[in-house]
């Protein structure tokens, strides 16, 4: 079965620990994205799976076999590099065919496989060109073709779309996704672009400082982030984060002091068990419902900058004590700069994070 499993994988570079005790299981046909900011250890983790780095501790299991001591060429994996790593002296055709040499098939079979893959990725017109005579997007597709022409245990992608422009990225996202769905192999994609992760992954593993903070489906990660970091990393515009003092629960509402203002907000039932003290409240810009002035249980603010975004409008607001708020409303709701706002949310959209950054949720 094409699967990948990392059990307690750790990697030290001298005194610096890049990957700390990472556990990951990717099943056949599943696409998992390693998402995170620069330096979070996602690329190192990928390279450990590939065999380009050796794990300091833990097990790397691919297709059920422990692979810690095996070199990359012994693992039967395919990888698409960030810089494509196309062999500059070989034509596109020869590049794609390169990994097939070791399989010892006859020329006819090789040619067929290359042709099939080239058709799948629309590379037929450039098969006889050299890598430096094709466009960036074509280079990317050749790199993917070279990986896909094989029948490996799994696929690894290192920032595959980072070098493409926005339009090309959109096209390629869809194309890669459809290519991958066809072949039921475990796939790991490393990226720092959350949009890529949200659209291509079955599950996203968000990493920070060598640790996986949360691994769940895109929807789960968006709607129910387990840590403050995940909450602020996922979602554009960024989630609003307000420091508040928690002062107990009244029925379905919690009592908070936000910006010096006492306020009651509808929260998740689990918040009852939280000790009083400092917390962080997270609310996504689109979760706000503007209500009439002076309504109860709302957050007050004054609109400062209005950014029309077409179907929606982004409002930059400020609370009385100076905290920034980003609010996104449908364009039908007209707000002017200087208007006073009363913003309501519901319990599911009001995320409460305790002092250590963990979400308080059932």
């Amino acid at each position: 079965m094409s699967t990948i499993e990392l059990r307690g994988v750790t990697k030290h570079f001298g005194g610096f620990t890049a990957v700390k005790n990472v556990n990951l299981a990717v099943s056949a046909g599943e696409v998992v994205c390693l998402l995170g900011p620069s330096g979070c250890g996602k690329t190192t983790t990928l390279r450990i799976i590939a065999g380009l780095e050796r794990a300091s501790a833990g097990d790397v299991v691919i297709a059920g076999k422990r692979m810690n001591d095996l070199r990359p060429d012994q693992r039967d994996i395919a990888m698409v590099f960030q810089f494509y790593a196309l062999y500059p002296a070989l034509t596109v055709r020869d590049n794609i065919m390169f990994p097939l040499h070791v399989e010892g098939l006859d020329a006819q079979t090789n040619a067929e496989r290359v042709a099939r893959v080239a058709r799948m990725l629309q590379l037929e017109p450039v098969l006889d060109r050299l890598p430096n005579h094709i466009s960036e997007g074509e280079k990317q597709r050749v790199a993917v073709a070279r990986a896909v022409v094989r029948d490996p245990n799994c696929f690894l992608f290192d920032e595959p779309l980072s070098r493409l422009d926005v339009e090309l990225r959109q096209t390629m996202r869809g194309q890669i996704k459809s290519v991958l769905t066809g072949l039921s192999k475990a796939t790991v994609i490393v990226t720092h672009d959350q949009l890529e992760a949200l659209t291509m992954a079955d599950r996203i593993a968000i990493m920070r400082d060598g640790v996986i903070e949360q691994i769940a489906s895109p929807h789960e990660v968006f709607a129910r982030p387990t840590t403050l970091f995940v909450a602020s990393f996922i979602g554009t515009p960024q989630m609003n984060l307000l420091t508040a003092q928690f002062d107990g629960v009244e029925g379905t509402h919690g009592r908070f002091t936000v910006d010096g203002q006492p306020i009651r907000l509808a929260v998740d039932p689990a918040v009852k068990r939280l000790a009083k003290g400092q917390v962080t409240i997270g609310i996504r810009p689109r979760a706000f419902i503007p209500e009439g002035a002076g309504s109860a249980d709302t957050i007050a603010g004054r609109a400062e900058l209005i950014e029309p975004m077409g179907a929606e409008t982004l409002i930059h607001a400020r609370t009385p004590l100076g905290s920034d708020l980003r609010v996104v409303v449908p364009r039908e709701i007209k707000v002017k700069s200087g208007d006073a706002l009363s913003l309501r949310t519901d319990a599911r959209e009001t995320h409460v994070f305790d002092g250590s950054g963990k979400a308080v949720r059932t």
């Binding site: 570079f13 005194g15 620069s38 330096g39 590099f81 810089f83 430096n132 490393v190």
Partner: protein
């Protein structure tokens, strides 16, 4: 070569939070020099020592007495003496004769002076010319450059005779000016080609920004362009130095008694005395070798980069 940013690692850019060791590792592991362990060190040491052996033997001979140097079987262990080094500078020219100053101090000075000045001149003139060729291309640019390259290929023999006559006629023979001018011209083609390819590599944006900020062309050249091409300067200097330091033919024919360089003096030492005084010769060469090694070692890291740039981008 467009999609290869050699300094960017596959993945994320090294963040400032990362310790220096990791950042260096990222930078280094992205280029071709991978790591090999002590096995290769042992192999390389053996090969290097074998390759170095003839040089080693010369240095060893410098410390031997005349008899030891000619000993059969060859002596690896012997009582070292510094006599040869002393004799470099003053010795008796015939058995039992008076001890005289050999003038080698002057010859060493001459070599240093002549090589140093000509290399510096070649760098100065050549860099300016390279800058001109690069930034202000003239119509006949390619022709000029090709001509310059071909002058480097001239067999010395072809120009030696007219230059010899020229020097005699103009009275330049035996003067510092003459030989320095000649050596400068030897080093110019290489300097120009080398520095031009370096200048071609520089992005003009930085210079434009500086000009907009009000710097004059001269300031732009010295404060912005020059610091970026140090590797080229280093490589040119080292190769130029090696070339002129060891140059023999022209020095033989064109330098006078006062301006004699060490290689010429060395060849006379071979001919003159009783047999060949190997120890003495070895001592001279050992002393002569030191400045070159020092300069090369000091500029070593720049040297390799310089050789790359000077030749790949033709």
């Amino acid at each position: 070569m467009t999609d290869m940013t050699v300094n960017a690692p596959a993945g994320s850019a090294p963040s400032a939070r990362m310790p220096l060791t990791r950042r260096l590792r990222f930078g280094r592991s992205a280029s071709g020099v991978g790591d090999a362990g002590w096995g290769r060190t042992i192999g390389a040491t053996i090969v290097s020592l074998i390759y170095f052996f003839p040089v080693f033997w010369i240095i060893l001979t410098a410390f031997k007495t005349y008899e030891d140097a000619l000993a059969v079987p060859a002596k690896f262990f012997f009582t070292p003496t510094l006599e040869n080094f002393a004799q470099v500078f003053s010795r008796a020219y015939s058995a039992g004769g008076p001890v005289q100053n050999t003038g080698f101090a002057l010859y060493f000075f001459n070599s240093l002076f002549i090589s140093g000045v000509s290399v510096l001149l070649a760098l100065a003139i050549g860099t300016l010319a390279a800058f001109g060729f690069s930034r202000y291309p003239l119509k006949g640019n390619d022709t000029y450059l090709f001509m310059i390259l071909t002058t480097r290929m001239l067999p010395a023999i072809v120009v030696i005779i007219p230059i010899f006559i020229m020097f005699r006629v103009t009275g330049l023979a035996g003067t510092y000016l003459g030989i320095i001018a000649l050596y400068t011209v030897f080093n110019l083609p290489f300097a120009i080609w080398m520095m031009k390819s370096f200048f071609d590599e520089l992005s003009p944006d930085v210079e434009d920004a500086a000009r907009i900020d009000g710097s004059s062309d001269v300031r732009v050249f010295f404060k912005i362009c020059l610091p970026q091409v140090l590797a080229g300067l280093a490589a040119t200097a080292v190769f130029g130095l090696i070339l002129t330091w060891n140059e023999f033919l022209f020095a033989l024919l064109l330098s006078g008694v006062e301006t004699r360089t060490v290689p010429v003096a060395m060849s006379q030492t071979i001919g003159g005395d009783i047999g060949v005084r190997w120890g003495l010769l070895a001592a001279i060469e050992t002393l002569f070798l030191i400045p070159v090694i020092v300069v090369t070692f000091a500029l070593q890291s720049q040297l390799l980069r310089g050789v790359t740039f000077g030749t790949i981008k033709r």
